[in-house]
Symmetry: C2
Subunit: 677 residues, 2 copies
């Protein structure tokens, strides 16, 4: 057999990488040498099952080779054992146990790739390329030898270098405390998580588990002034395996951001109290999501946080007092990678916390998260992204130029400082319709699918009753009051109606509209209308200011982020002039974009570089020092504000005849309306 | 004036660096451009006075130029003000205020150099080149501008880059908490300390002070099992400005190391208690030295620590249990740079702690400090360096090859486990002489210069009385007992003497020598002699083992480190065979070499690289697995052990006629003694 071949060609799909290897070479080894992206935690020991492949059958004309199962070593005992204990789909092989016997085409399915893509729910949203900063490595560590004394840690480093080519690794005190018991419990076999996104290219061991440990997790957290939301994510798949939310316990120090800053001003050391409670809340949240997923907090090796500047500072333990007044200087806005333990978070012993960068004194890391999620900085078209909370953060621009500002809407959109207002929670009125003839309202409350005039409504809300009105409800009721003629363009409640209709009642020297004449009694007062007018004028003025800066009059795409964006009916947002004229089709809710941005940063190292870079190049506009802001604000107080266009609304809401005439256009496109009457 | 010169030559001494500069160039600026080592904290603002120079007068043939005061700008108003407020010696100028008007030779005195040499007390000790990891920078920071929002920290980084060319700077949470108040208090002028010895070449701000801050300090600490010693050091001059010692509070958990490890074994969590008390003691020490120097702990930006492996682990919060039994595996022995705050140390808000590397499970970071201080790794001659504590750490070698081991001497040399023993403290007997005729003793105690038979002795020790006998006292008394014939070569107390002399008394089935027949009664029992024999045999065997490995029979140089080395009379160490035969002239005490090593590492960045590198190359010998160790040990039990040479002792001690005959040689050199009788 002088012509017997001693090597064979192997071609990997989908990468197309190919090479010749000696017969008998394990497929995983060939893949590694060719730089093919195949995952493995156990390093070829048939434990983790991450390195599964399928063999391409038949004639591969493209590659000029014939491939079949027989070109590889047969299904081994080791694979049989693995298949019994875990699961191995038909046709799947463990590439670490499969040897090359003749030319072969090998397909690496997406689940076996390290750098797979994570699918997001919204079709239009950017795809997340999985490339987390944390990876697991199973290692076999040499035992201590008195003839050649060396420390346990040195032998761990040696194993990482020799078995995984992972070098320049560091290790913090948290890991050192648990290193020796883990090595001994695992009989000198352990799994370590290594974090690879520290300044200077240093790597660090963040977790250690005796024996083989299959999964490591990260948490993406959005620290809002009102609620904190956490998403536990499998770092190998990108899947969110548990989510949980919690009220921000700082609320007891002040409902909104400025009242919390005031609390610090009045109570020196108050920042430390607020830092302590927010960190405690994060620990509770992490415990909750870990429990839900059936893991321990020790399996969480990373946490990524976003939050507005005040939350950012308080979480980091920085007094936010400078953010309470001009010039609104951040102590730091730069992205930060710190030990979780330094922030009193109880996760894996060496876990790291990454905090996204803040953009400006009023535009925080939450907005940076929105940028990552909605990616205006990569968009060819100009996008408007609005995240409404106590303030509205506004982003406008495209890949060519991106601007950001914060506009002082106040908390009215969140239901605060409104007579019957409350946060969005079961029992809150969230939808309102007013009959323009009778002025009779009907409404829906969170927790029920029924309208208040549907049969069975009262029973459907028996658990909570009606407790108040939340942000989206207030916007709708004010818009409906306007459409029903109860308030005029200036927002004034028409007191003359009280003679005809009992829903209109005097309240001091002004008038209110009674939304619910029961217990609780809920009326929309003149002050409530004013609060909404001020809020929507601020939002509009901020948007308009950025549009001026960009020199544009129309916005092709609008994304509404945050709870506000999720709950609001965009029609009503447009009636009130919250967002500028554009086709409603181009207005989309972005959901919790800030939290999604945190998750993107968690799952992709490069996204951290990306957002740190983008934030440096965003043009920060401070509304307080822009003379045009005030002018736009004053102009935008009226309802509908002067540039609004309601043509597209004609299909969906009944417009009062004494107001703007709306003419629907076939293409639904946005053009400046001519107003009559 | 067409031929008027527009530039001039400037020559700096002692560096010899030279260059031409436009007339009017400040001397400091010229120096910086030429890379001349001139210190400055204020960056040329005539505040710090660090940049002082003198002008070279007259003809400088060597440089071919004439230099005089007139070749520089006259003494300025700014310098006058500085001289009034601070001090400016005659002839001194501030180089930042002195302008070049014609060719000049400028001398930079040592005090004005950053990289000056630090003089050590012992003439033979290595010189310390000052190059600390921490430097101060005075900066003027831009105020926040709402038109161009940026965080305070970003503007601090900008100032460091623009005013000092210091880039890639990082900042931890500790500094971020104090950054904003410091900037505002200093009216946007602050001094920052920057630490420049982190993995990956990252720099970090470790301290921030409003306005100009002149001094920054470091602390070098030797954490001994018994005592902790701290030296506060001015990082700009290298001067020790305050020192303080404290008993190690862990003593309440166990007198010696092994009993502390046992405590952990018996009391799970006991390591955490010991970690807490050691860190608390370090904070107390740092407060003490700061107070003594009239500064605050906030002025201490660095701390460098050495300690034996158990202290090392307990300080770092690592359970030392693995060090309590074979194979004596360290969790980690690598040098470590961690935030001081992570170790619960209250220093400057971003201060760093550097812990020297351990060499092996029994040879700790304290021995690494000894290496740095005594530098056997740079010595052409072979050196023996012995550091005696509870165990003896032994280093033997030269620049070509260096070995280390630890020998289990037990605590007898420290006065522990000896019937009348105690630690070296006022009241302890430290010197003993026995009249070989009468067997009457005389002694000295710590705290008095008088011998016990001097007039006024009792009054001189009235404050303490005689409290016990310390390590050096025990060594002397056993050697003197041998020289007086009370014990024989095997260490047996000659019971027959009890009939002639009341100092010899039966104690159970053996006999004791009564050193003090008062209150307290102090006798040297047969067990005490045995303890010293075991200790000295262990020490000798360890040394001998390393000598075997190196293939040598004699040691040219011996250094005795630690308290033991400082207190012991080397004659007696040789009588007992604690150290191998060599000329007494070549035996030197190295003082607290471990602590000195810590100070060297504190003052010189490169020394950290050096010791980390040397430690990797030291050959670690584990006595427990070396068969020859046991053999040497058994052989070394006798007094004097079999290879001892006492010729050089003939001048200083009276030798008993029935023992070795010592013949003094003119050159005092060591040769193997012929023994008679």
């Amino acid at each position: 057999m002088t012509d017997a071949k001693t090597d064979a060609l192997i071609v990997f799909t989908p990468s197309g990488k190919r090479g010749r290897f000696p017969l008998g070479t394990p497929v995983l080894q060939a893949a590694r040498q060719l730089g093919v992206d195949i995952d493995s935690v156990c390093g070829g020991r048939a434990i983790c099952g991450r390195c599964q492949i399928t063999v391409g059958e038949g004639e591969f004309a493209k590659h000029g080779i014939t491939s079949s199962d027989s070109h590889l070593s047969g299904f081994s005992k080791v694979e049989e054992r693995y298949a019994e204990k875990r699961e191995l789909k038909a046709g799947r092989r463990l590439s670490c146990q499969t040897k090359l016997l003749a030319d072969a085409v090998i397909d690496v399915p997406p689940e076996s790739q390290v750098h797979k893509q994570v699918v997001r729910k919204r079709a239009e949203a950017r795809v997340i390329d999985l490339d987390p900063a944390t990876r697991l490595y199973f290692i076999e560590v040499e035992e201590p030898d008195m003839h050649h004394p060396s420390s346990d840690l040195e032998r761990v480093y040696k194993a990482l270098a020799e078995q995984w080519d992972v070098k320049d690794v560091n290790c913090g005190l948290g890991i050192m405390k648990v290193l020796q018991p883990a090595l001994r419990k695992g009989n000198w076999k352990v799994t370590v998580s290594v974090f690879d996104r520290l300044p200077g290219g240093v790597k660090e061991i963040t977790g250690i588990w005796p024996g083989f440990h299959e999964k490591v997790y990260g948490v993406a957290v959005d620290v809002g002034s009102t609620t904190i939301a956490a998403h536990l994510t499998d770092l190998a798949t990108g899947d969110v395996v548990a989510s949980s939310g919690l009220m921000n316990p700082q609320i007891r120090f002040g409902e909104d951001l400025m009242s919390r800053v005031s609390y610090v001003m009045m109570n020196p050391g108050g920042d430390r109290e607020m830092t302590a409670v927010i960190r405690e809340a994060l620990n509770t949240l992490c415990s909750n999501v870990a429990e839900e997923a059936g893991i321990t907090v020790g399996d969480i090796a990373e946490i990524v946080l976003v939050g507005n500047p005040v939350m950012h500072h308080l979480f980091l333990g920085i007094d936010p007092i400078e953010l309470g007044g001009a010039p609104f200087a951040l102590a730091t806005g730069m992205a930060m990678t710190r030990l979780a333990s330094e922030l009193d978070l109880n996760l894996a012993p060496g876990a790291y916390c990454y905090v996204l960068p803040c953009i400006a004194g009023h535009v925080g890391a939450d907005t940076a998260g929105v940028v990552l999620s909605e990616s205006p900085h990569t968009s060819e078209d100009i996008m408007l992204v609005v995240d409404v909370g106590t303030n509205a953060e506004i982003l406008l621009g495209s890949k060519h130029r991106l601007l950001a500002c914060s506009s002082p809407t106040g908390p009215a959109f969140e239901g605060a400082q409104i007579s019957g207002g409350q946060r969005a929670a079961p029992g809150a009125i969230e939808r309102v319709r007013i009959n323009p003839e009778t002025l009779e309202p009907r409404f829906r409350v969170i927790g029920s699918e029924l309208w208040s005039d549907d049969p069975g409504f009262e029973e459907s809300i028996a658990a909570t009753g009606v407790t108040g009105i939340c942000g989206s409800g207030i916007i709708e009721v004010v818009a409906e009051m306007y459409l029903a003629g109860i308030i005029n363009q200036d927002g004034q409640v028409d007191g003359t109606l009280q003679e005809k209709n009992a829903r209109i009642r005097p309240t001091g020297r002004t008038h209110s509209y009674v939304l619910r004449d029961g217990e609780p009694f809920i009326a929309i007062t003149q002050n409530d209308v004013r609060a909404i007018q001020l809020a929507k004028a601020a939002l509009h003025a901020g948007t308009r200011l950025l549009m001026d800066k960009l020199g544009i009059d129309e916005v092709p795409k609008v994304r509404l982020a945050g709870a506000f964006g999720s709950h609001i009916d965009t029609k009503y947002a447009m009636v009130l002039g919250l967002i500028p004229d554009c086709s409603l089709n181009n207005v989309q809710s972005a959901g919790n974009a800030a939290g999604t941005g945190a998750r993107i940063a968690l799952l992709n190292k490069a996204a951290r570089d990306e957002i740190e870079n983008v934030v440096r190049h965003i043009e920060k506009i401070e509304t307080a020092v822009e003379p045009m802001f005030q002018q736009h604000f004053v102009e935008a107080m009226a309802i509908p504000h002067k540039t609004a266009d309601y043509r597209h609304l004609s299909q969906v809401v009944t417009l009062p005849p004494h107001k703007t005439v709306i003419t629907a256009e076939a293409d639904g496109s946005a053009r400046r309306a001519r107003r009559r009457g």
